[in-house]
């Protein structure tokens, strides 16, 4: 029994540290700034980081295959601009939303196709995707476009109260991330697709020789990430009720950082979406901590985020070293 628990702890060490650090950061925050003890602050994490959570989940799968997707932030920007302009031109939201999702899927699939068929490195291909999407956003509109659609307004402003927690609420769009999260847990652990993703990340050549559908899976993973980005873009445009090419600057890096903080290795094959959820929450907590402080200059925020990331990764890599020598 103790042997088993020890094994469990070792195998899930990185994930458990992530969770523990999140709790720790949150509790310390609560001690320092009593205002942070309000439950609403916790739910605000989901409201403020809705888009980040969604793209990070898509990014998790990409990174699990050993790839990377630098285009997510630009696709968010493109989605906000495109939907804002389409809505402005009178298209109904129920047409615009699916259209955006389709665009995201197609965009991701094309990038995945480049990566798979032309055997070009994901970093370069998705960098191209990033340039392209950002450029398209500017070509559609150089300035910010407001959304006046009623449906979007309703989605943006109607609070949903949390049962059993007095005075705590989220907005509908904040629920998209958690729902998507549940879906990806299922995908990652209970489907052939998910397991193939892990196999590819460990050793693509092996996965191919095992007769697994490597190409199809890789393209699907990028398509899924494209889907997530478009979804995040829709959430973003609802939250801010506008579209702009400059939105979500370097959010791809925040997403990568969140995924990595969640214990997923950039080399592929190790990690899971649960970690990513906590990675995003930690990211959000750090930002709110610095906001609660309020007196720090913006550069200290940056340095602080860098330093905390370092502490984080440091603790995690300790775990990996430990596991390697004992396993």
């Amino acid at each position: 029994m103790t042997q088993r628990t020890k094994l469990f702890l070792l195998n899930h060490g990185p994930l458990l540290t992530t969770v523990a650090i999140f709790l720790l950061a949150y509790v310390i925050g609560g001690q320092l700034y009593p205002a942070m003890q309000k439950p609403q602050v916790f739910f605000n994490l989901f409201i403020n980081n809705g888009s980040l959570l969604i793209v990070s989940i898509g990014m998790t799968f990409v990174i699990l295959t050993g790839g990377i997707d630098l285009s997510v932030a630009s696709v968010i920007a493109l989605t906000t601009v495109a939907s804002a302009v389409l809505l402005q031109n009178g298209l109904p939201p129920l047409v615009v939303m699916p259209l955006m999702l389709l665009m995201g899927i197609a965009f991701g699939a094309v990038l995945g196709g480049f990566i798979h068929f032309l055997k070009v490195q994901p970093f370069v291909v998705t960098l191209m995707g990033s340039f392209f999407a950002r450029g398209m956003a500017y070509i559609i509109s150089l300035t910010s476009v407001t959304i006046k659609d009623g449906f979007y307004n309703d989605l943006a402003l109607t609070p949903i109260y949390i049962p059993f927690v007095p005075n705590a609420y989220v907005y509908s769009y904040a629920l998209v991330g958690p729902v998507l999260f549940l879906v990806t847990i299922y995908l990652a652990f209970f489907t052939r697709f998910g397991r193939t993703v892990y196999a590819i990340g460990n050793n693509e050549q092996s996965a191919r020789l095992m007769g697994l559908p490597v190409g199809r899976t890789k393209i699907s993973v990028y398509a899924f990430s494209g889907f997530c980005s478009a979804l995040a873009g829709i959430v973003w445009s609802i939250a801010l009720l506008s579209g702009y090419g400059r939105y979500a600057p370097s959010m791809e890096l925040d997403a990568i950082a969140s995924v990595v903080m969640g214990g997923t290795m950039l080399t592929g094959g190790v990690g899971n979406p649960v970690g990513t959820l906590f990675g995003v929450l930690i990211n959000g907590t750090i930002v709110s901590l610095l906001q609660f402080n309020g007196t720090l200059s913006s550069w200290w925020t940056r340095i602080g985020v860098g330093a905390l990331t370092l502490v984080f990764i440091g603790i995690q890599s300790l775990f990996y070293v430990r596991r390697k020598t004992s396993g």
């Binding site: 191209m128 340039f131 392209f132 940056r302």
Partner: protein, 363 residues
């Protein structure tokens, strides 16, 4: 037969693809932008007579990127990546600006003092401090990657995020304008009609080339990049090799920061050297170095950087607005992807094979 061999050698050479890409862009200019190649001589009141024109701009504006690409090449060859070069540029620029600032340590800050054409620190010291700051940043990255064993992209992400914060800290959040004329020489001066910056690039490239090709360092770097474990078993100190690569990359970033801040007469921690990390990676990839590490060519990466700037300047001459430039850049990357993919390489290989025998048969 010998001609075919020559063809094959040219094609296999690492310079072939970046040179092709450069040629394609220049050809495009020759066809559609008649004035592009015009080079004139101007007698500048400050810097004396020198050449000017688009091609000179490609060299001068591209110099910082070329420098960074040299460092990035070594890092990528060890199968790493350095996302922090933009931040290192900002730190080095901030160092320079602060040390020049004549109001430094002065109680009485008046506009006259601030904008005076003097420096607080002697120029050689400034250069030394710049280089030291950048090299230290590189050393830090190298330490994280080689000793703490943090994945390169994450390790350098830390400095990428924090670095611009540090630069702001150095300048106390100000955008600093530089008024000290001798400092401008690096980004604007000329020697024998050619920009100073290009001599600096040549010097650093030569230094790097001698280091990696006239000693065994190149072999060591490539072995480490392909299989670090095997390299360790073979008796290489792969950790110090990585450390060296990142440190050198920081060093080149520092020089780039010096030239850039000298060129624009200021240091803006948020914007100076923005996106240089991505452009540098792009340049290296164009030079044929795989991001998974291994074989590399410094010269090819430098040409890769030239391609990026030739393209950018071309777009400027066509009046493409800065915001839409990103979309145009996507097209450039697409071109690179298509040219470099295994698929097109194979196509070309088959084409030259088919040509080969018939050529032989004719004799």
């Amino acid at each position: 037969m010998t001609r075919q061999k020559l063809l094959a050698r040219v094609r296999e050479s690492r310079l072939f693809w970046p040179l092709t890409a450069l040629a394609v862009i220049l050809l495009f200019d020759a066809l559609f932008a008649p004035g592009f190649f015009r080079i004139g001589i101007i007698d500048d009141p400050v810097y004396g007579p020198h050449l000017y024109g688009n091609l000179i701009d490609v060299l001068n504006n591209g110099a910082p990127l070329m420098l960074v690409s040299i460092g990035m090449t070594l890092v990528i060859a060890t199968s790493g990546v350095d996302l922090s070069v933009g931040a290192v540029i900002a730190i080095s620029a901030a160092m320079g600006a602060v040390l020049i600032n004549p109001a430094l340590g002065d109680r009485l800050i008046t506009n006259d003092i601030l904008t005076a054409d003097t420096t607080n620190t002697p120029l050689p010291l400034i250069i030394l401090a710049d280089l030291a700051a950048g090299t230290l940043c590189g050393l830090w990255n190298g330490f994280l990657v080689s000793r703490a064993r943090i994945q390169p992209m994450v390790a350098t992400l830390i400095l990428m995020v924090a670095g611009r914060g540090i630069a702001q800290l150095i300048t106390n959040g100000q955008i600093m304008t530089i008024y000290y004329t001798p400092y401008f020489w690096f980004g604007n001066g000329f020697i024998l009609g050619l920009p100073v910056s290009i001599y600096i690039v040549a010097g650093v490239a030569l230094l790097a080339w001698v280091l990696v090709r006239k000693t065994a360092l190149g072999l060591f770097i490539e072995s480490t990049g392909v299989n670090a474990r095997a390299a360790y078993y073979a008796g290489l100190d792969e950790r110090n090799i990585k450390l060296l690569a990142y440190t050198f990359c920081g060093f080149t970033g520092a020089i780039a920061g010096l030239i850039l801040s000298s060129y624009v007469h200021s240091s803006d921690a948020n914007n100076i050297g923005a996106n240089y990390e991505l452009d540098a990676i792009l340049a290296v990839v164009m030079g044929g170095t795989l991001m998974s590490g291994g074989r590399f060519s410094i010269v090819a990466s430098i040409i890769g950087a030239m391609v990026i700037w030739a393209f950018t300047i071309t777009m400027y001459t066509f009046g493409v607005p800065a915001d839409a430039l990103t979309a145009a850049k996507a097209v450039l990357v697409l071109l690179v992807i298509l040219l470099y993919s295994e698929f097109s390489q194979r196509l070309l290989g088959r084409w030259s094979l088919r040509k080969g025998p018939s050529h032989d048969a004719a004799h």
